[in-house]
């Protein structure tokens, strides 16, 4: 929605005349809704920036948020909604930052017995602020979507770190629930790392796995068998008491697979095996 040049000029004058009272009242409104999560000084600074950007946009002629003259205002709103989204503020907490101006205007301008012209300008200003609010809200939502997409990607990367613990020993600390798709990725990554690092020992640490069902156990067993086919031995560590009980209750055979209580025990076991084979060769 656009304003005529005259309306823009009169609203700009209105904002300018009552600048100090407006920003103070505006800041108060936001401060109440954010309940101290940002200091009053920070809020005042943000409000003053927004106030100035709005004034500049209004003074550039007939106001239109989409026009070139409002570039700086749009940038200020984008910055504001992005930082609110990143800091985890809710949608209404973000919206009030803009809509606070409307309440401040109504507080500051005495509407009783006011000139019809002033009332008309107030309504026009109100509609303009609605525009700013909508724009802010859209940016906020877009930022949140980007954040979620980024986090999902980071989670997948986080999900399968294969680390080299020692010469000849790699470890994969499994964290979180293993579904079939993730288990497959984990399995492939582990086996590829064995080849890349030429490591004959792999430790699968399940300390961070909340529960083991038949499927997860099957995936781990298959990984162990595949590693053996390639010439590497797996050690499973971090089996918690209740998981041990589940494994036995489900009737899953871990057979001759080495299991250790902790990652440290598993590493010690692997190093002992490496040492034994080295001695065997040098005899």
């Amino acid at each position: 929605m656009g304003l005529t040049a005259e309306e823009s000029g009169r609203i700009a004058a209105l904002l300018d005349t009552h600048a100090d009272k407006l920003t103070a009242s505006w800041t108060d409104t936001i401060a109440v809704s954010l309940r101290g999560r940002l200091t009053r000084a920070e809020l005042l600074k943000q409000v003053q920036d927004l106030h100035r950007a709005t004034l500049d946009a209004l003074r550039s002629g007939d106001f239109d948020l989409a026009a070139a003259g409002s570039g700086a205002l749009r940038a200020a709103l984008v910055d504001l909604s992005r930082s609110r989204a990143r800091q985890g503020f809710s949608a209404s907490e973000t919206a009030i930052t803009v809509f606070g101006l409307k309440k401040a205007l109504f507080d500051v301008v005495d509407t009783r017995g006011a000139d019809p012209q002033v009332l008309a300008d107030l309504i026009a200003a109100g509609l303009m602020i609605d525009d700013l609010g909508l724009f802010t809200f859209e940016t906020y939502a877009k930022t949140r979507e980007e954040l979620i997409a980024d986090q999902a990607e980071q989670l997948l990367e986080l999900a399968t770190p294969v680390v080299k613990l020692w010469e000849g020993v790699v470890a994969i600390p499994l964290v979180g629930t293993l579904d079939s798709a993730r288990a497959q990725v984990v399995m492939e990554r582990l086996l590829e790392t064995l080849v890349e690092t030429s490591s004959p020992y792999a430790i699968i640490d399940i300390t961070g796995v909340p529960a083991v069902d038949t499927q997860v156990a099957q995936h781990i067993l298959k990984t162990v068998v595949a590693a053996r086919l390639m010439g590497a031995e797996c050690i499973i560590s971090g089996i918690r008491p209740q998981i041990a009980q589940t494994i036995v209750a489900l009737g899953i055979e871990f057979g001759d697979i080495a299991t250790k209580a902790t990652l440290a025990d598993a590493l010690r076991h692997a190093l002992r095996m490496i040492e034994a084979s080295r001695k065997g060769r040098s005899n």
């Binding site: 298959k222 068998v225 390639m230 010439g231 040098s282």
Partner: protein, 143 residues
């Protein structure tokens, strides 16, 4: 039909399979290897399958047969270089390659063979010890 070359390196026979083998090629390799083990008196065989992008049940059976035949001829077989995707597929296929020793690469395979040769008792030395033991503990030595 192509034949897979068998190389002799020290006292080890090295077979590096570089082609997508027909079944006949696999059978021929099995025979060639048995002949070469006897002819060279080698005690170790390394089969490098790094270049194989699949191992099906036929090739799996060939590997098991080679391992069994070499064992009869007093040679040990190590299969090296199996790719992760091949290993995952074999597990799903249900092929466990029982009785086959494996290593990540040729170097590790040679270490494995050297180690198991070292673990084998040295015949001469053992006989000497046995004789000494007989002297002190044998029934004839008891006064």
């Amino acid at each position: 039909m192509e034949r897979v070359p068998v190389l002799k390196i020290g006292d080890i026979l090295l077979v590096s399979i570089q082609v997508d083998m027909q079944d006949q090629t696999a059978l021929a390799l099995q025979e060639d290897l048995a002949d070469r083990i006897v002819a060279t008196g080698c005690h170790g065989v390394i089969i490098d399958i790094t270049a194989l992008d699949i191992v099906d049940s036929f090739v799996g059976r060939m590997l098991s047969s080679i391992a069994a035949i070499s064992r009869v001829l007093d040679a040990e077989t190590v299969v090296v270089g199996m790719r992760p995707a091949v290993a995952i597929t074999l597990v799903e296929l249900g092929l466990s390659l029982d009785g086959i020793r494996t290593a990540l690469n040729v170097e590790r395979g040679m270490e494995l063979l050297a180690q198991s040769r070292a673990d084998e008792p040295d015949l001469g030395l053992d006989l000497g010890l046995d004789l000494a033991d007989l002297d002190s503990f044998g029934p004839t030595a008891t006064p």
